[in-house]
Symmetry: C3
């Protein structure tokens, strides 16, 4: 079985956001799957996806701090600057974290570890609505 859905997320502020529940709700077939895989893909080049700690908001804030220092705005080596100082760093951050996740499914649920959640990583100051493509296999 293979099923594909779209999930459109309302605009989120720049930063790292837990979207595990939104992803699960967007795939109605998930509850009936014994063993499978769920692919989550973000159809943009300045937002990305990752899995990390689902509890403390401190972790998500520290992600922002590290990524903003590792990929600085206003560096003198940027040449792709006409869309604003947050654009080119957003492209780099998006590729460092990647545009997709593949998550195991077991007994009708994502088989994540106890502390794992899915993050939508919004790297633009005003990225707007983001479109995800979700593909479930079983």
């Amino acid at each position: 079985m293979i099923a594909q859905h779209e999930l459109r997320l309302d605009p989120l502020p720049r930063g790292f956001h837990l979207i595990t529940r939104e992803v699960e709700r967007a795939v109605p077939e998930l509850g009936g799957v014994d063993v499978g895989l769920l692919h989550v893909f973000v159809a943009h080049t300045s937002a990305s996806l990752t899995v990390n700690e689902n509890a403390s908001p401190d972790v998500r804030r520290d992600f922002t701090s590290w990524f903003d220092r590792a990929v600085p705005e206003h560096a003198d080596y940027w040449t792709h600057t006409f869309e604003g100082p947050d654009d080119m760093p957003a492209h780099i951050k998006a590729s460092l974290l990647g545009p997709s996740l593949m998550l195991p499914v077991r007994a009708g649920r994502l088989a994540l570890g106890t502390w794992q959640g899915v993050y939508l990583c919004e790297h633009r100051d005003a990225g707007g609505s983001r479109r995800l493509v979700l593909t479930l296999q079983s």
Copy 2:
């Protein structure tokens, strides 16, 4: 359905290169797939794959600028240096971006966003021909 193909890319200069069309052409079954996933894997440890902006060559040049600064040659902490100063940084860059992509397929085409393209990231000065393994599921 599952189908696997190899794609051998001619040597590319160090940098980031759009290969979306080469990938699509290497999988003849793609046009007949309604809903599926395409896995792209690079069988090397000093090249990688990512998805990013498919329009402006500025973006791909700025990728090179950032990665060359983030993972410098000639750092005093490298011990694996006998294959040249570009070798160990190439291994790190390869893992930061990753050896594979999983891309959604819809209606006979890769279901990428408007601005998304597939990059072959060549991290060596003379990496030579690169071999990709493409696996289509539907």
Copy 3:
């Protein structure tokens, strides 16, 4: 065909460790697969997986050197510090490398390049046992 297994790794010291053989042995169906994909997922937020050079231990040591400099402990911008100075850097490193790999399978074996191996990346000083979820498709 889809089959899922768990692999529990004994505690490993902080660093980068080859686990290709452990992964292959944990999936008994692998030997009978002509064409397929193997998904490997680590169910933790301070360890990750990557593919890189399988020969020289120098490479794995240099991975540690680079990641420890790129994501420093004791930086003044960390706020999530109550689990120790290695905790928040471990979360960042885990997301930079990612929680999962998808590997091509051909003729009963992982279709890796000659020099490629699977790394378990342990980012904590005392991370303990790590649990992997392995999902084979063919």
